[in-house]
Amino acid sequence: MDTNLNTILEEIRQNPFEKQVITTPHTGVLTFSVKEGAQVKGPGGKWLQRPGSLLFTVERELNSKKIFSPCAGEVSWLHTELEGSFTEAFEPVLTIQYRLTKEKVIERILKQVLTVFAAPQRARYFLSPDFSAAMEKNACPAIKPGDEIFIMSLMKRDTILPYSGDGGVVQNVFFKSGSIVDEGTPLIGVCPPENLESIQKLIAQVRSEWE
């Protein structure tokens, strides 16, 4: 396995947490509503209409602004000296830490090693006949920028979509040819040919080992 990939996994293993630093939106006098080590909730409800736990308030010009937690987790660090004092804008106030899930780990690994080509708009996507034939011959065909590999079909009009991004081999096709795909959803993931095998092994490893 590639050492680089191994290092990524090792790093995640050593610190399987994601951290989010919360900063002040503007200047003002700060009052904390949480303590270090406290568990906080993220936004809730079907439409995320209920705000998360109250973290702190910043008061400026008699306007007390409440800052709510954007995610669920634990307050791992708190800048306690700021309590009751006038704080500058964008000052780090606290950090919320939460454990990475299996999907997050895979997402993080793929983000670092794959080039993802996403759907430019909501439409029905097909693989071009040439590319389909290539896929049948070889499960991971090589592609380069400019290759016409998708057909985007919308309102009875077909548009050929060339691939743009780094060249390599197609590690994964994320959609079923002929299905409707939303804007921004990944269509294919491309990686350097030498990394292909190791990536697949790594993902399988994460899937089986990660809790």
Partner: protein, 752 residues
Amino acid sequence: MKDTNKLLSHLHDRALYLLDIKQNPKWSGIGELISRLQTLRKKIFDMSHETLIAELKMLDERLSFLEQRAANSLTSYETVNIVRNPARFTLQDILENVYDSFSELGGDGECNVDPAVVVARAVITRRIKNKVYSHQVMVIGHEKGKSEEFRNGGSAKPWGNAKALHYMKAAETEGIPIHSFIFTPGAFPVEDYPGAAQAIALNLYEMAMLRTPIISFTSEGGSGGAEALGLSDMRLMGSRGYYSVISPEGAAAIEGKLREGEKVPRELIERCAENLRITASDNLKLGTIDRIVEEPPLGAKRDDYAFFRRLRYEMIKATDEVVLRTKSLKAFRAYAMKTQKNGHETGFEDIDVVIDWGLSGPELNRLLDMRSQKYRAMGSDFYIEGKKGIVDGIFKLTEVAAAGFYELRYGLIRPHERNVRKVLAEVSSEGTTFLKKVAEPVRAAYDFIFPQTEKNQRINRTHETSTRSIFIEDWEPYVSPLANEDRTVTCPNAQKYGCLDLWVPDLYGEFAGVCPTCGHHFPLEYRWYLEHLFDRKSVAEFNRHIASGNPLNFTGFEKKLEKDRKKTGRCSSVITFDAKVRNIKIVTAMFYSDFRNGTVGAAEGEKFVRACDKAKMTRRPFLAYIHTTGGIRIHEGTVGVSQMPKCTLAVREYVESGGLYIVVYDNNSYAGPVASFLGAAPYQFAIRSTRLGFAGPRVIRETTGDDVPPDYHSAKNALKRGHIQGIWDRRDFRKKLHNALLTMGGPNLYYK
């Protein structure tokens, strides 16, 4: 043994029914009686026939005594329990037992547009001297169903009400009367196609002038949902039914200021049920119904055939009466009515006269006139009219004189003037064509010799004298008192659009309460609109002296009224006034939040109707600006609910006479008024950031069990659904309104 078993089971059912009504097993030992019946059921084969009969007889006597006692001291909440009991008759029972034959239209059971609304063409017959006479009617009503979930307990969805309207129009075309039966706890609060409020408003608007007799019978009348079928020429009600502005539980949650999910105390519900005056006798006293149909002491059940016979008699009699009132033959009318009365005295089996239920043109006109008078009179005893004495006399004289003047000006002179103008225009256009041929060569030669600069085109728009920009005004602008605070506020959309904090004096001063980044509208007091929307010093209020009262003597309401009177210096939640918008004279009704949250009661309804009539008399456009309305005032019960048809009738008459009616919603506009006289407007607009609809998110959650998105009631969604016709920015309100008056009103601002 078989008979005793049957008797025992019958006694058991009766005892359970009584327990359901009282909801207290300790009441007069009813729980004990039930357990005795249950023990008897187990031991039935161990006992001798004689002992069993004696025991059953004793229990029957005891139960009859308890039933009598319960019936004599029936409370309002117990009436609600009777109505909600699954043993109570439904529309299906009425169709089967009151009518001779029927065929359901627009649905069959679950396979239906809305199974909660049933429509049927039915035949009702009367027997006179062994001869049978039958009448065709259109039966429309709510079906609660026999424990069928898909019926939704009789809560009509907007498309169910639309179905009802479709068949009402069919009945109008065919000239047959409509019998409507109301069995609904309320309308199903969804805001789709285009919303519960719109559906009810449309029904009311159409029923206001539906050219066929409508007779309604109410068993369970839940506010707006009931009104959607309830605007009728004769309103009957079952003696054990209820007709209310809100469910007792809902009223208790509001009165007790309870949070969502909190259990409402039983005592509070009972007190509210009592205060709301929901029973048939209460409603008869309040004048919201015309007649009570007697039921058995503890309410009619599915198998009370004597009650169905009575109901058939009452429905026929009521239809006869409505039809007879429109007849021009006074002698025949009097004779027929007299015979009917005699019939009533001798029993309800026989009706001696056959009356044709078809009506001719003039009779239909009379029917509509009487319908209008009937609803205009509703609630007229329940507001306080302060002004009395000489001032009142002078005021009335001025009104009469004004009415005479406007009738002369617009009723007599204007049509002739228009005709003359039309003839002149036609003659002159023909003359011009003829003259043009002769004069053109001469004119061309003249223009060639003496060239002239083009003259300015004459602007000729009625009432419009100025074309100045509305932003340049010659007076000191009014600034909201909200601006007198030295602090900043955050826009609610700050996270989404990155809006900067706003300094309050800027926000409520220069920015007119609008966030300059995202356009969010912060609420402003109604006075701001009075000062900025209309021409300076053009606002002249009228009917200020009509005051809200406490018609139901609702406990504690007097104090609340007094507090709001002191706070606002006004006596009702609507201000009616004449005003000008860039020199166009209009009549306006403005509902505002400071007085009982803009809710509508008898005083508000009366003021609105009078404003509507004034606009009709003076031939001016009518604007309803809704700063806020929280619905019908629950403390006025069905007197408040009756303002829905009352005001809708007035609006319909105004629009039919050629008036231009525009509604503009702002802040929060919900429930009854939106579901009647406001929602009925052909032109409805909303100021940005308005929230409008039928029921709020909490009521929707509690009724349907589904949560709604946070922007469910936003003006944007109301526009998408087709409820409103446009969204206006507060800063452009005056300009937009002026434009709307010109474009929708045309040059005369009044169509006819």
